[in-house]
């Protein structure tokens, strides 16, 4: 079997269930791949690790960071996009009085300064709220400032922070999802290098096929998938993981992910995201999307392996 490795964007959790399931079920082995799954961590750039050749594949930040990486000259190609809609939302407590985008004016909003701030600005711009109309502040790991009322709006991933907030009693939050305002930031891109695509297309093909089988199996057998995840990291909270895989299913099985199959690459959506990033000055020059995203492998995977 050929050795390969996958670098995740974060520690083991249900967000990456498909890969662990594919490995546990022997799907990679069946494709002749001996895959090692390497977790990520804070300040660990999966893009850099794949680009440098330290890892063969990567589940990296998302469309915006992939484009930034390609823009910076990293020889990366995305072969699939996991989350078909923005996996995070801007949340507020019902008593904050924020019901529309216009209500953001004069409020304190916290978000991650890791790209999410552009999404927020773009979303608010659609509601006529400019940069100077609200107070923007960085959001750290902790949600306490939001829970304690120090900020009016916080940012939460649908699969992680939102569940944390729910478990801490905030079940009736008002959500502002960027997609509802025509802004989409697709996250969790599956990438490899241009060299790997060129030199080992069969490896890439096998990897993607097995991965998709894994995801399909995971979403169809969630309890078993969570069992597998709990083995990978026994320290996790099972309930939290169960909630996560549900949320992950929602963001993956959406748009083309629902109609065409998991991890589908939707060039229309990509173009829109690309233009927003360019408009915000995140990228300096346009990027050739056809070069940055290569749907050819995904196209070759039989529909029954990727469609739920």
């Amino acid at each position: 079997a050929e050795k390969a490795s996958l670098r995740l964007k974060w520690l083991p959790q249900a967000q990456f269930a498909g890969f662990y399931v594919a490995k546990a079920k022997g799907f990679y082995e069946a494709e002749g791949i001996d895959l090692t799954i390497n977790p990520g961590g804070p300040n660990l750039n999966a893009e850099a690790l794949v680009a440098s050749g330290a890892d063969t594949f990567g589940l990296t930040g998302g469309v915006e960071s992939h484009l930034a990486a390609v823009d910076k000259g990293m020889p990366l190609v995305a072969i699939g996009v996991s989350h078909q809609k923005t996996p995070y939302a801007f949340v507020t407590k019902p008593d904050s009085g924020i019901k529309t985008l216009a209500d953001f004016k004069g409020k304190k909003v916290s978000t991650w300064y890791t790209g999410a701030q552009y999404t927020l600005k773009a979303m608010l711009a659609t509601g006529g709220v400019g940069e100077g109309d609200f107070t923007l502040m960085p959001q750290s790991v902790s949600l306490n400032p939001f829970i304690d009322g120090e900020v009016d709006v916080a940012t939460a991933t649908l699969y992680n922070e939102l569940n944390t907030l729910k478990s801490r009693g905030l079940t009736d939050l008002v959500l502002f999802q960027p997609d509802d305002f025509g802004i989409t930031v697709q996250r969790d891109t599956l990438v490899t290098t241009t060299d790997t695509v060129k030199d080992k297309p069969e490896l890439v093909q096998g990897f993607l096929t097995a991965t998709l089988k894994g995801w399909k199996y995971a979403l169809e057998h969630k309890a078993e998938a969570i069992d597998i995840m709990m083995k990978a990291d026994p320290g996790m909270d099972r309930k939290h993981q169960e909630a996560m895989i549900e949320a992950i299913q929602d963001v993956m099985v959406y748009g083309k992910g629902a109609s065409d199959g998991l991890l589908a690459i939707d060039f229309d959506s990509l173009q829109k995201q690309h233009d927003i990033l360019l408009a915000n000055g995140v990228m300096k020059a346009p990027v050739d999307l056809k070069a940055a995203f290569d749907p050819s492998f995904w196209d070759k995977v039989p529909a029954e392996d990727k469609k739920l």
Binding site: N43, A54, V141, G235, D237
Partner: protein, 260 residues
Amino acid sequence: MSAARASGGPAARVWQAVRLPLLTIITLAILWEGITRIFEVPASFFPPLSVVLADAASVWSYLLRSTGRTFLETVLGFLTGSAFGIFCGVVFAYSRNLERALFPLFVVSQTIPVIAFGALVIIWFGNTILSKVIIAFYVTFFPVTVNTHRGLLGCDPQKVALMKSFGAGEWTIFRKLRFPTALPVIAVALRLGISLSLIGAIVGEWFGDTVGLGVMLIQAMYTEAVPRLWAIILACGLLGSALYTVVSLFERKFIWWRQD
């Protein structure tokens, strides 16, 4: 305080040594539990000790495995870091030019936040225990170098002259005089170093490892599992104290004399 009075069996002496620390720990534990219970501090802010211990118990085998792994990395990093630190301190003590040229670079190296370069560490040293050991090594050697250098230079020049009068070469002077003179100062750095090494190992585990206290730590941090966070803090504290104690015991056994 005649020595006669301080005597007693080994058991009594051990008791004497652990009595106060134990008392402090028990007091702190009671305070912790009491305050959190009485004032009903939210668990997300500061959970009671019992909750923390219960949480630790729920994952005890994983916690134990993680502690073992971190322990191994720490010890390896500490040993290599101390050895390298002492070596560099010696080199610097003997070569002013090397010291002047390289020492600033050592300082620069210590100002680099390793956690900004997780990817680099993995690219260079791979996904192995080696990258953790390297980071533990990296944070350990500096204080050891500084103190070794200082300790070696702090030697009484008249004693050096005495050794020279015996025809001792630099190597002999080093072995028999300078190094023993520097030992107490080096020992201070070793005590700092073992704590730093543990920290290095833990941070090293953030770079894509699958087991270790550091892995559990970020999991807990980012899921805001506060009781788990405290459980890991306790585990780190326990491991760190144990290692520190071992180093201190070595120090007390081998470096008991007072400088004059």
